[in-house]
Symmetry: C2
Subunit: 124 residues, 2 copies
DNA sequence: CAATTTATTGCGATTGTATTGCAATAGTAT
DNA sequence: ATACTATTGCAATACAATCGCAATAAATTG
């Protein structure tokens, strides 16, 4: 299925790029200047995830947060990293800390979801 | 607030102890022989968490899973560990893998939530 | 053992996140 | 400009989890 360029997609990408953090649907909606339907935002976000442009994190609050996939440290592919959710400023940042674990080959790992919760350095 | 012993609490503990895994409210309800209201199960689970008897994990599916806190390897307190959610048998097991990360002291970490998702060794 | 206190429970209603069906709209290529 | 179909808006829906309140029952007291 071919993707099309739409104002919605641009607006969502814009907000995420500017914030540099992982954001929830409602946070994104609040930071967008135009009006976009909730369902549409979810659909755009999920499509970006399918295309490997965004990655999704589920926090302890059960909500989904979306962030740009950056390829850091010269890696070709984005690496699983920790996330930090600050309950004070209510944002999630991607930490530059890789997730390491050694698990039996008998397991097939498809997703990694690691979130630390607390107070970030700015709010502490 | 003093706690009382009730059939409900025993039944819930029983199921969790027997399974040895992290279970969701509906899974627990299904494995209990008596009928217990949904809200009650959640209240019992949350009370156990407050008392440090259970720990809660939020998986990628946005659901809460509860498991017994074991003090392994002679540690006095339970240690943050990885969890594995198998999408085939739909269970979450506590992996004997500790979560390690070095984060600036400027952050205050209150909770750690790490879940790997995929197919477990039994289902693979 | 009966009376009292209050933690616990059941029920229904409610909150909040996320998804879906369907018709209308609008990119994109010809 | 036209056709094709991805995308969107709207309303309805699904689902997890919580809350208020009255009823129940565990534990303590006399």
């Amino acid at each position: 299925m071919k993707r099309r360029n739409t104002p919605t997609k641009e607006a969502v990408m814009d907000v995420l790029a500017k914030s540099g953090k992982a954001m929830s649907q409602d946070a994104i909606e609040q930071h967008i200047d135009i009006t976009i339907n909730r369902a549409t935002i979810y659909r755009v976000l999920n499509r970006f995830c399918e295309d490997g442009i965004l990655h999704k994190v589920v926090a302890e609050d059960g909500k989904q947060y979306f962030a740009l996939c950056k390829k850091c440290d010269g890696h070709k592919k984005p690496v699983h990293h920790f996330h930090f959710r600050c309950t004070t400023c209510d944002t999630i940042e991607c930490l530059p800390i890789e997730v390491h674990f050694s698990l039996s080959e008998a397991y097939i790992v498809e997703h990694v979801n690691c979130v630390l919760t607390g107070t970030c350095k700015t709010c502490a």
